[in-house]
């Protein structure tokens, strides 16, 4: 998911229209998260099928959703996350997949498919691309200095004001995403993470307000750079983003060491799904593209590159050891059992959540 470099939503719509005008039949317009694919996959796809890929990237579900709801995006394949996908299906944004054109669907992993069916009943509109968790990324050395521990294993580090006070100096970032943070706070409190009860949400709000003074910034992509450069010591963020920060820090070789943990209390699990907009112009090519991504060797190549788990069972035999055996990417069964998902909120709860979130973020 969200492998983003700041405001990297370079929207080259104009070029898409230009391309589609020239090569009317053999083109597919893909809109995916930034830094979320090994480019050679796109080249190989064109070599194998003769379909040209026009690839464009975004860095937030909100941007994608706003474009989809406005309609006429010109994209043939898009990659929204579970809860967003569910609402977009309801709004009539997508068309049903033609399973006859997707023979590789037999490679998919039933464990993931059962979860994604909660957003997309019978997986009629989408197939899984990648999935991951929302956990804690931290600077190992700075955490040692501030807290005197070698590793973090509990959400207590983030949700206990005493511990956060100690981290105030070195800096904490948190995702600016209420639908991720509020359920996590609920899970820490031992409540149902997917609760819609206003009393529960108020409890989560109180908890978050108590640590608010020690959060330097709420932002959904800047923490990658901030972690990698050693500007902050901890971020609540998405697994793959933290791995990306870890790799950048290792490349820079400035002594910054980043680690990611799924805390013992559990963490939210999310799914990025490949789907075809209802008004897509190249439906056959879009199916060909999705089918290609579901090839075991292609899915494995993608995961080996982006460090996210995929929903493709057959690809697991082909994954690098460091990906498959990393419990932060492919959690063991005990951790897996503690992961939770949240379903989209109804409009009334959504307003409540947004209101709470604004209160928390602005500290008003």
């Amino acid at each position: 998911m969200r492998k983003a470099i700041g405001l990297a939503t370079a929207t080259t719509l104009a070029s898409i229209f230009a391309f589609s005008a020239f090569a009317q039949d053999k083109v597919v317009n893909v809109y995916n998260w930034s830094d979320y694919i090994d480019d050679s996959i796109l080249e190989d796809f064109t070599k194998e099928t003769g379909i040209k890929v026009v690839y464009d990237v975004f860095d937030s579900n909100e941007i994608l959703e706003t474009k989809l709801l406005a309609g006429g995006t010109g994209y043939d394949v898009v990659v929204p996350t579970g809860a967003f996908l569910a609402r977009q299906i309801q709004a009539g944004v997508f068309q049903k997949l033609d399973k006859a054109k997707l023979p590789n669907i037999s490679n998919m992993w039933d464990v993931v498919a059962t979860q994604t069916a909660k957003y997309d009943p019978e997986n009629a509109y989408s197939v899984n691309y990648m999935w991951g968790t929302t956990g804690i990324g931290y600077n190992v050395k700075k955490i040692q200095d501030a807290l005197g521990v070698d590793k973090i294993d509990s959400w207590k580090t983030v949700f206990d004001p005493e511990s956060m006070k100690k981290l105030n100096e070195c800096g904490v970032y948190m995702l600016d995403a209420p639908q991720e943070i509020i359920p996590t706070a609920l899970a820490y409190l031992g409540l149902n993470p997917d609760s819609r009860d206003p009393a529960d949400i108020t409890k989560a709000e109180e908890l978050l307000l108590s640590i608010r003074p020690y959060v330097r910034k709420f932002h959904s992509s800047e923490y990658i750079n901030a972690l990698a450069n050693g500007d902050i010591c901890l971020a609540v963020g998405w697994s793959g983003d933290v791995f990306q920060a870890r790799d950048r820090a290792a490349e820079a070789d400035q002594g910054v060491e980043i680690a990611y943990v799924i805390p013992t209390e559990g963490a939210e699990m999310w799914f990025d799904q490949l789907a075809i907009p209802a008004d897509a112009k190249h439906v056959d090519e879009a199916h060909a593209f999705i089918n290609y991504i579901m090839k075991p060797e292609v899915a494995a190549k993608a995961s080996n590159y982006v460090f996210y788990a995929n929903g493709n069972k057959a690809s697991q035999a082909l994954l690098d050891k460091e990906v498959l055996d990393d419990p932060a990417i492919y959690p063991d069964d005990a951790t897996m059992a503690k992961l939770f998902i949240t379903l989209p909120y109804d409009p009334k709860t959504q307003r409540l959540i947004t209101r709470s979130w604004t209160k928390i973020v602005s500290g008003q």
């Binding site: 706003t66 330097r216 450069n229 947004t354 604004t358 008003q364």
Partner: protein, 322 residues
């Protein structure tokens, strides 16, 4: 700005040309006026009406995410039904929640403080430019405009590198021994002021420069000859003569700064409440197009109405001056 609009209107009445010529001139005169009006109508009024229409709708899980939408196939009765669904609920919602009022107020305060500092810094720059030898002036003017050659976004991003705890500024201050702990400037209001003043300084300097350049400096010499001290000469002569430039510069900084989104998003912290960011949140995170449209309409009224009064006052003052 007011002067230019006033100047275009009466230009098409040359009295001394022959009969046919006057007729043609009148026609071209009309056409010339039509162009700016058409521009305003198509690029300002129509989009505004669309936004206003959305602000009267309700959110819906649909494409586009609000209802009612105009469906021309439903005929006149269908349109009438749509009209009846409109309501001002979204505007009531804005008054209902202190969040929006706070955001408006804090935007205006931040913009006002930034404008003040831009004036404080911009005036000496413009004054220095206007008093520089005429041969150097084009170069100085060029230097003021030069930053526009780089993307605004990249220039704001560069400030992150300068202001962050381990950034250039802190490294420099620690190196000189002025401080021993890095200052936390990034993600605070200070960073926003720096960002706005930096980004909008050219808009302050240019009108000030054009006002000061026209000034007759023999007036200052005359004041000094008559025994007026320099400071008092500044307040009595330079300042009033620079007034049109000051007003234009302040408006050019204040108005865009009020609705600024990029600078508070990149340099500000999460506690910064600005209306541009609130609008973004309503539109993208909350998918509430109607409420965000209502926020935009109010913002526009807040900025346009004072401007109109100001223009009128200025036009009156000019009439009286003649």
């Amino acid at each position: 700005m007011a002067e230019t609009t006033l100047a275009t209107a009466p230009s098409a009445s040359p009295a001394a040309v022959p009969q046919q010529g006057t007729w043609l001139a009148a026609l071209t005169g009309r056409l010339v006026i039509i162009i700016p009006y058409a521009w305003l109508l198509i690029l300002f009024l129509v989009p505004f009406l669309i936004v206003f229409k959305i602000s009267l709708s309700q959110t819906a899980i649909a494409m586009p995410p609000y209802s009612p939408t105009f469906d021309l196939s439903a005929g006149i009765t269908g349109l009438w039904e749509s009209f009846r669904e409109f309501s001002f609920d979204n505007y009531l919602w804005l008054t209902d929640d202190p969040l929006y009022v706070n955001a408006y107020v804090s935007s205006v305060v931040i913009a006002a403080i930034s404008t003040f500092f831009a004036l404080l810094i911009g005036f000496p720059i413009a004054y220095g430019m206007a008093r520089a030898p005429a041969t150097v002036r084009p170069l100085l003017l060029m230097l003021v405009i030069l930053p526009f050659w780089t993307s605004f976004l990249i220039r704001v991003y560069a400030w992150i590198g300068i202001l962050k705890p381990e950034g250039l500024l802190n490294q420099f201050l620690i190196w000189t021994g002025i401080i021993d702990q890095p200052l936390i400037i990034l993600n605070t209001h200070t960073a926003i002021f720096i960002g706005i003043v930096y980004s909008y300084l050219p808009f302050m300097v240019l009108p000030l420069y054009s006002a000061l350049e026209k000034m007759d400096y023999s007036l200052i010499e005359a004041a000094q000859d008559l025994g007026c001290p320099p400071i008092s000469a500044f307040w009595k002569i330079t300042f009033p003569l620079a007034m049109p430039g000051i007003v234009a510069g302040c408006l050019l900084v204040f108005i865009p700064a009020t609705g600024e989104f990029v600078i508070p998003d990149l340099l500000g912290g999460s506690q910064t409440l600005m209306i541009g960011k609130t609008l973004w949140n309503e539109f993208f995170s909350n998918r509430d197009w109607p409420v965000s449209s209502a926020v935009a309409v109010i913002l526009l009224l807040m900025l346009v109405v004072p401007m109109m009064f100001f223009q009128q006052a200025q036009a009156k003052a000019q009439e009286q001056g003649r």
